[in-house]
């Protein structure tokens, strides 16, 4: 007991540093919450008088709204097309997830279970494609999808772009998981006369549920948080995704910080919760993939 107390006492410089870092971390987040509940569109927490005193200035940096109001949230849905943008984001992200997971799990299964000519080349090409810089891909993709196929400002165009960017990571991640599932189960199913498709859909996929879930959540998150490709491919205001819409509030000459803050909270909270749940899988996946690669 006494040892613990003395250790705790020795820890105070550490706590001091940690508290400083916690302050730095939380301040921008509290600022967003403050602006969101301020009921106004200004990015200042408080209006300063011309001859501001120290107390006024302190008020202006304290992350607590002067007047508490939920009007920004209400008017975001009543007056702004934010609900539509959220729905666009949801449709695009969900479609990306379904398509991405389907394509990635079948391919990963083949890469994990079968030995066939072109297997190594295929796996390597997935890895190499991760190195293509996004902008280099965006120019031809823009020409192909918008100018040739006429899929600008459409769900299909953006879903295709997101899916192919997500596939390589998903394939590697799922292949890693399939490799850990013992083959004996499939072999005995094969002896019992099950077909390849039955084995995959009825035995392997259910066993790989955790990997499927993580991959799906990861694809969903990537699509949900993506800004620049959505901004390039979605030109019509009704087709904006949430990120593009949020930037629309505060980009250029528009200064609707209240709407931006309120919208950010709505768009970010679910995805942040998801992320907190996922992060331990992500770290091991990323570092393991990088070590193997």
């Amino acid at each position: 007991m006494s040892r613990k107390r003395s250790e705790g006492a020795r820890h105070w410089p550490l706590h001091l540093f940690l508290l400083l870092m916690v302050g730095v971390t939380l301040y921008p987040l509290l600022w967003v919450v403050t602006i969101a509940f301020s009921g106004g569109q200004s990015l200042a927490i408080a209006n300063l008088p011309a001859d501001a005193h120290f107390a006024d200035r302190l008020r202006a940096v304290t992350p607590w709204p002067e007047h508490f109001s939920t009007s920004n949230f209400r008017s975001l849905f009543a007056d702004q097309p934010f609900a539509r943008w959220l729905a666009n984001s949801a449709v695009v992200s969900a479609a990306t997830t379904i398509l991405g997971v389907f394509l990635a799990s079948t391919a990963a299964y083949a890469f994990s279970r079968f030995r066939f000519p072109g297997r190594r080349a295929g796996l390597m090409s997935f890895l190499v494609s991760q190195m293509f810089p996004g902008v280099l891909m965006m120019i031809p993709l823009y020409i192909i999808i918008v100018q040739w196929l006429g899929l600008g400002s459409s769900y299909i165009g953006l879903v295709l772009v997101y899916t192919v960017t997500a596939i390589p990571f998903c394939v590697w991640m799922m292949k890693g998981y399939f490799d850990t599932i013992p083959r004996e189960l499939e072999e005995s199913a094969l002896i019992d006369g099950a077909s390849q498709a039955v084995i995959f859909f009825r035995i392997v996929l259910p066993l790989a549920k955790p990997a499927v879930a993580v991959t799906a959540l990861f694809s969903f998150m990537t699509a949900w948080n993506e800004y620049i490709q959505a901004a390039t491919f979605m030109n019509k205001e009704t087709m904006y995704t949430a990120p593009v819409g949020l930037r629309f509030f505060v980009g250029g000459f528009s200064q609707q910080w209240g709407f931006f803050a309120a919208g950010s909270i709505i768009a970010a909270i679910p995805i942040m919760a998801l992320f907190m749940f996922l992060q331990k899988y992500l770290v091991s996946g990323l570092t393991a993939g990088a070590v193997k690669g």
């Binding site: 916690v22 120019i139 031809p140 930037r247 570092t287």
Partner: protein, 690 residues
């Protein structure tokens, strides 16, 4: 299993290769004949339009009144003057201008029932001088002032006028014309809307527009089926016969098959050439006949309407390109010019031979592939591993269509000067070789010394590259050291609230980066941003963060530092927690100091997790698009632009697709070089570590 028959393979290979060669050849021939037909339709429409403008320019001789009016009004008329001029023109007693134009248009329309409408616009008074458009009747009867909705029409005229002036200048300066003087719009129904400038006394005074009849896509007449069939089957049959004599000698079979392949394709080329030549003669004759017909009709109209001293028509110049320069294919007599026609036919033949040559190469590769058994192996593999291929196929097709094809297309774009205005032209026409790369890499004037001190060229590639490198190094250093320190602190045994600290400190990684970036952009606002409020509390002046390169750098660095330390912290913490505690116990027993423990146990155990994390974060930071694009946006004047945001702006703000693709290629090569270097470096350190 019997030994595979070389003879059968080569016969099959020849059949497939010839089918491919002749098949693609036929498709190309048909496509180009259809295109030529379309072009002929356009050229005939242009001839009609040229006849119309020639006629109007000759009948509308300025009367004495209008001439006086023109001199009185002078050049730069305001709108009021124009209206006054219009009133004066409409005043009783004065000969109304445009009457001759109207009657010419009316008569021209009568003799050309195939035209949907003719419209003539005069710039002076912004008037619709004449129109046979069914919409322009009743209240909208010409002549009248143009509506607001018809601004496009007026603008089109002004654009053509500007093009004519511009081309005159460039030609006078010894250059080639650059801007289209005739507008050609192909309609959905296959007809054309053509607009050409109307000149009066050497200057463009108006616009004549015609809409030709719907012209369903012309199909080229039947392709030369019989020669093609012969070119395909005859060599195959011959090889089958020869094979009986040759037997299974592979080299001889290959040689014979190749010769027969070339012979077959040559036979096809001869047939295609004669078809092409006959077609070219036909089309030229058709064009000449059209010019002659127009000359007769328009000549009659001119004799009927025009003044006695009218300049004769110039039908030899009617067949013209978009710069209004005659092709010269039809002589004044209305017959094809033999020399020009010969040159055209030679050019056709050259093109044909080039494409057949390329096809021969392709077909030879296919022949070798089938003949030497490659196809059989691939086929066997496909059948044998069909389940595996079926599983991977969807993903592979997606990747090929939307990743690898775009990548190679992007690489090709890098060698062109494609931009938003010429992106409909074929890529071959825009080829500029390595010009883009030379332009990006050869400009090394980053710094210029002036009397006011050094001036930096922020848009220079090397400035951006240098900034990008500094940006990456500082960020990764800050992220790694902060993350590592926090991880070491959080790994302290017995520290209170560890879990709570951990959850809070992970938050920046969880927030979507575009939101963090926009939030920091707001917090760095000069007037209302909280950062400047903090500065004022401690008595400092507010800073215009994005007006100077250093302060702007500080702003983006803060933002990225905030959103990147969590990742490193989590990675390091995970690695720290996986170090078995007995290692430290053993070290303590051996009497190792804390520092020695850190050096001998902690750091080496961190390495396997930290090295890949650092590699990843170097690449992420190097390409950290959102922070730069959304926080500083490259302010001031592009000083804080990184390579990838610069490439984006080149492509999607300046629309220089080719140049931007070259720029991105350079980025790709830099990253590739880094990856290779990193790979070797980490292998080398591993070797030392062991």
């Amino acid at each position: 299993m019997p030994a595979p028959s070389h003879r059968r393979r080569f016969v099959l290979g020849l059949a497939v290769a010839l089918l491919l060669g002749v098949g693609i050849g036929l498709a190309l021939l048909t496509a180009s004949r259809t295109a030529e037909r379309r072009q002929l339709a356009a050229r005939e429409a242009l001839v009609t339009l040229a006849a119309l403008t020639d006629l109007i320019e000759r009948v509308e001789t300025p009367s004495a009144d209008t001439e006086a009016e023109e001199t009185a009004d002078g050049g730069g008329m305001g709108l009021g003057d124009e209206l006054a001029g219009l009133d004066a023109g409409a005043a009783p007693g004065a000969a109304e201008p445009g009457t001759a134009t109207r009657s010419a248009v009316a008569r021209f329309a009568e003799t050309h029932p195939e035209l949907r409408f003719i419209r003539v616009v005069t710039f002076e008074g912004i008037r619709l001088e004449a129109s046979t458009d069914p919409a322009d009747t009743g209240a909208k009867q010409a002549p009248r002032r143009l509506d607001r909705e018809e601004k496009d029409l007026y603008d089109l005229g002004q654009r053509l006028r500007a093009a004519v002036d511009e081309n005159r200048e460039t030609v006078a300066a010894g250059g080639a014309p650059v801007s289209d003087e005739i507008s050609v719009q192909e309609q959905a129904d296959g007809g054309f809307v053509l607009g050409a400038p109307l000149e009066r006394a050497g200057t463009v005074a108006g616009l004549a527009q015609i809409r030709t009849a719907p012209n369903p896509v012309v199909r080229a007449p039947t392709p030369p089926w019989l020669p093609a069939l012969l070119a395909w089957l005859a060599p195959v049959a011959l090889l089958a016969l020869l094979g009986l004599a040759i037997g299974e000698r592979r080299a001889v079979l290959a040689g014979a098959a190749l010769l027969l392949l070339l012979a077959g394709l040559a036979g096809y080329a001869l047939a295609a050439r004669s078809v092409r030549e006959a077609e070219r003669r036909d089309m030229t004759g058709e064009l000449a006949a059209h010019v002659t017909a127009e000359r007769e009709t328009t000549g009659t109209l001119l004799a009927e309407l025009g003044p006695a001293d009218a300049k004769p028509l110039q039908p030899e110049s009617w067949d013209r390109n978009v710069y209004r320069a005659p092709f010269g294919l039809v002589t004044a007599a209305g017959t094809p010019d033999a020399e020009k026609l010969g040159a055209l036919i030679r050019a056709d033949t050259g093109r044909l031979l080039r494409s057949v040559g390329a096809l021969a190469l392709l077909a030879a590769v296919l022949l070798a592939f089938v003949g030497f058994g490659g196809a059989a192996t691939v086929g066997r593999n496909l059948v044998h591993h069909r389940v595996a291929y079926a599983y991977t196929l969807p993903a592979i097709i997606g990747m090929i269509l939307l990743v690898f094809f775009p990548f190679f297309y992007g690489v090709m774009l890098a060698f062109t000067n494609q931009n938003i205005y010429n992106s409909s032209k074929p890529i071959v026409d825009l080829w500029v070789g390595v010009d883009n790369f030379v332009d990006i890499l050869s400009n090394v004037s980053v710094v210029r010394s002036t009397p006011d001190g050094l001036v930096f060229n922020y848009n220079n590639f090397y400035w951006t590259l240098g900034f990008n490198v500094i940006w990456t190094i500082t960020n990764v250093t800050i992220g790694v050291s902060l993350g590592l320190i926090l991880a070491l602190i959080l790994n302290t045994k017995g520290l209170a609230f560890r879990a709570l600290y951990r959850v809070i400190l992970i938050l920046p990684w969880a927030v979507p980066s575009y939101i963090s970036a926009l939030v920091f952009q707001g917090m760095f606002h000069q007037q209302f941003g909280v950062i400047n409020q903090f500065r004022q509390i401690v008595g400092l002046d507010p800073v215009a963060w994005f007006d100077g390169p250093l302060t702007s750098f500080a702003a983006v660095l803060t933002t990225n530092g905030w959103l990147s330390f969590s990742f490193m912290m989590v990675v390091s913490l995970g690695a720290l927690q996986s170090i078995p505690a007995d290692l430290y116990e053993a070290a303590k027993v051996d009497g190792a100091s804390r520092w020695q423990q850190f050096k001998a146990i902690t750091l080496p155990s961190l390495r396997p997790a930290l090295v890949p994390a650092i590699i990843l974060s170097v690449i992420w930071t190097f390409n950290q698009f959102n922070v730069i694009f959304l926080v500083s946006a490259g302010q001031p004047a592009g000083a804080t632009e990184i390579l990838i945001t610069q490439a984006y702006k080149l492509a999607f703000e300046q629309y220089r697709y080719g140049y931007a693709a070259a720029y991105s290629m350079v980025i790709f090569l830099i990253l590739l070089a880094y990856g290779l270097f990193q790979n070797r470096a980490s292998r080398a350190t591993e070797a030392i570590g062991e």
